[in-house]
Symmetry: C2
């Protein structure tokens, strides 16, 4: 029996046929062209799935079910994308619409939730039952696994891990509130801090690293220059790690997971990020003298995370 | 069938026999005398339970099980008080010890967890399956109900809701970290803010209210003077509510419960606390324009909360 995982994004729709062990038999993608009516987009999604089943030499009866990882706020119980900013979707009945093309059970969740589940089943959380997953990209996404199951909150729009406030009255967040973890620990926030540090430190190595052009600053700039010993860059990285640690320690105090997994572009820094982060968290969490350390690890699925995470939805029933 | 709930504290051990609907048939208490060896304390606890069974004219076979609500960090799976500051207990096998006196299943959890469960089964959370409970007293305790079950975290020492940081680098917390919700939203924190405001506002009505003596300041001082229009008191109350709202909004973003319940001394303020708090939270939580409001309510069990919450542990299996 196989599962279809759909990694649905504003630019591409990727899909793959996945076995129970997380092996991808075949995968493909089509452009989203997100400005079209949603019916057209979901039709393409359905046809992509059917074409993959055919290319793999399978029949539709060989497929158990379909999982969709979608951006935005998802009502997973009713199969609805409540709101997705980058698609300009409001209350789109994506599951019902997809079933016009594929007569199989269809499950959906937020893409960060799917990524968490994918790591739990096939990645660096394999074998663990209680996991906090944070993905550090444009925003801070998150997924929570409790007792082996995805926890989406009692109502839709739960598990919004990026919108835990770590500094009330602090930086403005995209959600309208001030001081959210996302405003300090996303790659976007890191870039903003890097640029700010460069402006106040005209002698910083970071200027040389980006050829004197602020437009070349990205999530790597501060980390790479910190490795070369630049003081201003070190300060940016240290502050970034402190903010992320504050969020992680709060999640540990609430959930006491077996592991905290970090995904997204920033986690490419590997141990250079994780080691000081672990040290900071170990000094923050509640009852550090009597309760064991919770290890922080890098998520491992990388490019296939979207498809595998969506397929994992089918298996996590 | 009946249940015994034990409300175990540093000063008193209270116990009651409870029916399935949360009616207390009979209750009693003994002094803890907490400096004694734990064996003596737990012996008294056992004898109190047996005496209540006898007084109620019941047999031990009429009792299904025993629940203990205990202060401190609890390893509920192994029945151990890992650490309780006010008792100076370290790794006390309370469940095994109590079974020397009562041959029944014994369950244990943190007192705030029990209070949450009591409210869920018998109090203001009755009929609801996803609840966040915060108790505002000396510290900020909390309990989390997910899908009708008490969530204690993947490992002991989870659900430490008071130790969510709302302002990194902020006020020193008893846990050693800075900026925890507890450092801003406990009754202790309210008293501290009140005293501070009085010192900087020598004309405040609050001085008159406490007969010019800072020692008379308690959790009511700022609230009562704010009701009488005192500007400094209003500011204290507003800041207190803002801090509490920051914590509550973060819990909503993570858990999306059906209700947030507030217990502890401060909740005696009723609507005067709840109404502005609700308004603040409604302006903070994620996706306020598309996601429904989560109501904030006062916990209702009051004096019986400890016994009923502990008995609820027996029913929540």
């Amino acid at each position: 029996m196989y599962y279809i995982g759909i990694d649905f994004g504003g630019t591409n729709i990727k899909a793959g046929i996945v076995d129970v062990n997380g092996n991808i038999l075949i995968q493909g993608s089509v452009k989203t062209f997100s400005k079209r009516p949603y019916q057209e987009i979901i039709k393409d999604m359905g046809e992509l799935c059917i074409s993959l089943v055919n290319k793999a030499g399978l029949k539709i009866t060989d497929i158990h079910s379909v999982g969709i990882g979608s951006p935005g706020s998802i009502d997973s119980r009713n199969g609805i994308v409540k709101y997705a900013n980058n698609l300009k979707w409001h209350n789109v009945p994506i599951v019902a619409e997809l079933k016009h093309y594929i007569d199989l059970p269809v499950f959906i969740s937020n893409d960060a939730n799917c990524a968490a589940l994918g790591e739990a089943l096939f990645g660096s959380g394999k074998g663990m039952k209680n996991i906090i997953f944070l993905t550090l990209g444009t925003g801070v996404g998150g997924g929570i696994i409790i007792d082996g199951k995805l926890f989406e909150g009692g109502d839709p729009a739960g598990a919004e891990c990026g919108h835990l406030v770590i500094k009330m009255g602090g930086r403005k967040c995209t959600c309208g509130r001030r001081g959210c973890l996302e405003a300090y620990a996303s790659a976007t926030a890191l870039v903003r801090s890097t640029k700010h540090a460069m402006k106040t430190n005209p002698d910083s190595l970071m200027w040389k690293y980006v050829n004197g052009n602020l437009k070349n600053v990205d999530g790597r700039t501060s980390f790479e220059c910190a490795k070369m010993g630049d003081a201003a860059a070190k300060k940016v990285v240290d502050f970034y790690e402190t903010c992320l640690a504050e969020g992680i320690a709060s999640f540990i105090n609430i959930f006491r997971p077996e592991v905290v997994l970090i995904g997204g572009g920033v986690c490419a820094q590997g141990d250079y990020l994780i080691k000081p982060l672990q040290q900071k968290v170990d000094n923050m969490y509640y009852g550090g003298d009597i309760n064991p350390t919770v290890p922080i690890k890098v998520a491992t699925l990388k490019n296939d995370a979207g498809i595998l995470g969506a397929a994992a939805l089918c298996l996590n029933r």
